[in-house]
């Protein structure tokens, strides 16, 4: 009985762990990249980071990728990185999409689609969803796109 109570406490505390919010320090994420090597979000500390939740079959995500591809090279040189989390269940689809989009940033994936632990922890209900982190890993903004995103990244890079 005690065990059950203990287990349910753990469950409750996990579900009560709120979705990361603006102003919070981002929780650590470690997922496998295209080659199967684990990549931690914390390994990008010191850079301005865009956490980008997407999938190969998500049209709006692919269109957003196109824009990111166009701004990425010049911003990367100034200290910007993208941590792209795909919720594809089919990893071949994921890899094909990365190749097709020519998106040369950090790509990671976790099995389980919408119900993958990372998607659940971040309460991802629709994609694309993104979070912009400053150099210390603090969440500055959510769901910025296009010019707005570019402006925000540039402002953070000047800090």
């Amino acid at each position: 009985m005690k065990k059950i109570i203990f287990a349910s406490f753990i469950l409750i505390s996990i579900t009560a762990a709120a979705q990361p919010a603006i102003g919070d320090l981002s929780p650590e994420i470690t997922l496998k990249d295209l080659k199967g090597n684990p990549v931690s979000l914390s390994s990008l500390k010191g850079k301005v980071v865009l956490i980008d939740f997407w999938a190969s079959w998500c049209g709006p995500c692919r269109r957003a990728n196109k824009h990111l591809v166009s701004i990425y090279p010049s911003l990367k040189n100034k200290g910007f990185e993208i941590y792209g989390i795909s919720i594809d269940e089919d990893t071949n689809d994921w890899k094909k999409a990365v190749t097709a989009d020519k998106s040369h940033w950090v790509h990671v994936n976790e099995n389980g689609g919408w119900n993958a632990p990372v998607a659940t922890q971040w309460k991802i209900d629709q994609i694309p969803t993104n979070y912009l982190l400053d150099q210390q890993g603090k969440i500055i903004a959510r769901d910025l796109e296009g010019r707005e995103l570019e402006k925000a990244v540039k402002a953070l890079l000047k800090k």
Binding site: A55, W57, C58, G59, C61, G113, W114, A119
Partner: protein, 181 residues
């Protein structure tokens, strides 16, 4: 022994009656991208007869595969999509047929269900075939308008048999699936 053979035959008959349709492809529409929503994916996966749900970006469709031997309920699928905040714009079901004769604008029983074929040539279906559902709310309003004029029967409006069908042995209120090829 006779009983066993009878039971066996019954099982075989029942299994051919079920599992008529093996998969479906559905286009869902709404104000936002339907495939980009967790709600619709979860709602479809929660259906007891659903094996896999896979978004297909090329055709902006969901490819659904049903569990083997389980009867798919297209009305439950439509409801799941609507409850998730979207509507069905196109719904195609695929299954295997063996010498199934169909006629235009007539009710035909297939695997224990009533189908009403619209805008088709009289023909015999064999092998894997796909049917497009043209019942209200299974396609866009404009497309429905087109099919609703393809028959004078009332059932196209409700998806259910009218009292006029009782002469033909079809109880009023029986679900009639309106389809085309």
């Amino acid at each position: 022994m006779k009983k066993i053979i009878f039971l066996l035959l019954l099982v075989i008959a029942a299994s051919t009656l079920r599992a008529q349709f093996t998969r479906a492809s559905i286009q869902a529409s709404g104000l936002t991208c339907a495939m980009c929503s967790r709600a619709i994916d979860n709602a479809l996966k929660e259906l007891p007869f659903m094996e896999t749900v896979k978004p297909d970006i090329k055709n902006s469709m969901f490819a659904l595969v049903f569990k083997q031997g389980q009867e798919a309920d297209v009305d439950a699928i439509r409801k799941a999509i609507e409850d998730a905040g979207f509507f069905v714009a196109k719904f195609t079901i695929t299954g295997n047929f063996t010498n199934t004769a169909i006629k235009n604008d007539a009710h035909i029983a297939i695997a224990g269900k009533e189908y009403h074929f619209l805008d088709v040539k009289d023909q015999v279906l064999n092998g894997e075939k796909s049917l497009v559902l043209v019942d209200k709310n299974f396609l866009t309003a404009n497309a429905f308008k087109k099919y609703s004029t393809a028959t004078s029967m009332q059932c196209i409006k409700t998806g259910k048999a009218g009292s006029c069908c009782e002469k033909a042995g079809l109880a009023a209120g029986t679900r009639v699936y309106h389809v085309t090829i």
